[in-house]
């Protein structure tokens, strides 16, 4: 599978993501510059973590106007696979490819730590290597990851099984304490209705080898490889 990692000014997980896809997963991977108009025939676009445009205005708010993002939006409409990690998730909500928005973490702190995530729906291209209820240990690193959606949107998301990951205890229980950033319904990762666009606040690329303390991120990344 050919991956394209989008690079915005201020992206800072682009190299890590490239490493995880290219050297750990051993897949052809290239960088896509935000000013370009060409997706170079990749099978999956990855929007990496970081602080695109310095998080000016709102996290992800400016990146969505990049020329390349118009291509990514059209790619998604055609059914192309798009994975947004952390800042990439924020960009996808700003772009309207995923529902909802991100608020500042409930405790007003930048959170950089391992979290436990309960895998909810494994019937997707991004999660099919996992089992429902499985708990993944993957790190987060963000200031604005407090997921919010209006009540009717939230109901719609839940009724379509669009939540893929929730912050949980190591045993898979949903508690207020485990929900570190205050996200509604403990939402850490979401998919669109069509099933080709996923956003997640945790960083799977930072949990792709034992050396990192966990390789649980590969459940997500390797799910994408099935069929390729």
């Amino acid at each position: 599978m050919k991956f394209g990692v989008v690079v915005f000014p201020g992206s800072n997980c682009d190299r890590d993501t490239y490493y995880a896809l290219k050297d750990v997963l051993r897949q052809p991977t290239l960088f896509l510059w935000h000013k370009d108009h060409d997706l170079k025939k990749v099978d999956c676009v990855v929007l990496p973590g970081g602080f695109s445009y310095g998080d000016y205005l709102r996290a992800g708010a400016i990146a969505r106007f990049s020329p390349l993002m118009q291509e990514v939006a059209e790619f998604a409409v055609r059914g192309g696979l798009v994975l947004g990690i952390c800042n990439g998730f924020q960009v996808l909500t700003e772009l309207g490819l995923l529902p909802g928005a991100m608020l500042r973490n409930k405790n007003l702190k930048f959170l950089c730590q391992f979290v436990n995530l309960r895998l909810e729906n494994t019937d997707t291209a991004f999660t099919r290597n996992g089992t429902a209820g499985q708990v993944l240990r993957i790190p987060i690193a963000h200031f604005d990851g407090n997921y919010y959606a209006p009540p009717e949107t939230l109901k719609d998301i839940e009724s379509h099984n669009q939540v893929l990951l929730r912050y949980s205890t190591p045993e898979g229980e949903l508690t207020a304490e485990a929900n570190v950033n205050g996200s509604l319904n403990s939402i850490a990762g979401l998919i669109n209705k069509r099933g080709n666009v996923m956003g997640m606040m945790p960083h799977p690329e930072r949990a792709s080898e034992d050396l990192f303390g966990s390789r649980d991120g590969r459940v997500i990344l390797e799910s994408l490889l099935k069929g390729f």
């Binding site: 205005l57 708010a61 700003e94 909802g100 928005a101 409930k106 405790n107 007003l108 919010y148 959606a149």
Partner: protein, 82 residues
């Protein structure tokens, strides 16, 4: 003309920054402070735009860029006619 736009979180959404500022004010003894909401201010200098045109243009800019309509609301005023 110059317009000033105020963007803030919707009333229905918890504003932890505003809460923190409120708590600081209460700690200092300003016990008349009931609530604090924090927001952002933008000043736009618009060229060759009539008041009528601004009424169409400014909300459009706010909805598309300056505010995220899912979590934020805005209001605006004309500071200076051109």
């Amino acid at each position: 003309m110059k317009v000033r736009i105020l963007v803030s979180l919707k009333e229905s959404i918890l504003d932890p920054q505003g809460q923190t500022v409120k708590n600081a004010l209460l700690t200092l003894g300003y016990d008349k402070v009931r609530d604090v909401r924090q927001g952002k201010v933008f000043e736009l200098d618009l060229e060759g735009v009539t008041e009528e045109e601004a009424k169409g243009l400014v909300p459009l800019i706010c909805d598309r860029v300056l505010a995220n309509p899912i979590i934020e609301e805005f209001n605006w005023q004309i500071l200076k006619e051109s």
